[in-house]
């Protein structure tokens, strides 16, 4: 009985994770500039990947597998923001600026002040 509930929960989590990952990919295509795309890839991507791993843990119903899957989730949640931050910082410093729709850019203001003084 408990096993059945776990299997149903796992199946639901699997579909939910896949939907989040698909929406992350759609966001990467639809959003207008590099930095807004990073929002979609880092948040929805990390949650999607994490949910799929949790689903595997729930469906396997095996302590060793579940522990490995949870360690994998922690790993994904630690590395995704680091990768997004590195990529954002590297591309900003390399000179890729935010798109025209951006209403405010404090880094640019700082750089202009520095070069002016």
């Amino acid at each position: 009985m408990i096993g059945d509930i776990a299997l149903c929960l796992g199946g639901g989590l699997l579909i939910l994770g896949a939907i989040f990952t698909l929406l992350a990919a759609v966001g990467v295509v639809r959003l207008p500039d590099l930095y807004t795309r990073m929002h979609a890839a880092s948040k929805a991507g990390a949650v999607g990947g994490g949910l799929v791993l949790i689903a595997v843990a729930v469906i396997s119903m095996d302590a060793a597998v579940a522990l490995r899957a949870i360690i994998g989730v922690i790993f994904v949640l630690l590395t995704t923001p680091v990768a997004a931050h590195l990529l954002a910082r590297a591309s900003y410093i390399a000179g890729y600026h935010a798109g025209e729709s951006t209403v405010r850019d404090d880094i640019k203001t700082r750089l202009e002040q520095n070069s002016g003084s």
Binding site: L7, L14, A25, A41, G45, G48, V82, S91
Partner: protein, 103 residues
């Protein structure tokens, strides 16, 4: 519908959705337009592939695939870090040259 059939069906649906996600992120890799956009899409692709392997693990019942998924996540992270360093050092120059050559 039995529970086993539901899990089977949900893993199939997840595989279809993740396959679509792979296709959609390939669109971004192809249309670019800049190098960081492509790196971002590649990073997302490794996450999608990780989810794909997880769904395959559920479908086949071989939990050994989970190790492969975790190793792939590590590999994707290291690849993104290396590519970010590359962008930092010589991104815009080579990128602008490539775009000019294309047009």
């Amino acid at each position: 519908m039995t529970v086993a059939a539901f899990v089977d069906l949900s893993s199939l649906i997840a595989l279809i959705l993740l396959g679509l996600a792979l296709l959609v992120s390939i669109v971004r890799i192809v249309i670019g337009p800049t190098l960081p956009d492509r790196v971002l899409a590649l990073d997302l692709m490794t996450v999608v592939a990780m989810g794909f392997i997880g769904a395959v693990a559920v479908r086949t019942g071989r939990m050994l695939y989970l190790d492969i998924a975790i190793a792939l996540a590590l590999l994707g992270f290291l690849a993104t870090v290396a590519l970010a360093r590359y962008i930092l050092r010589r991104g815009l120059k080579t990128d602008a040259a490539a775009m000019e050559a294309q047009s």
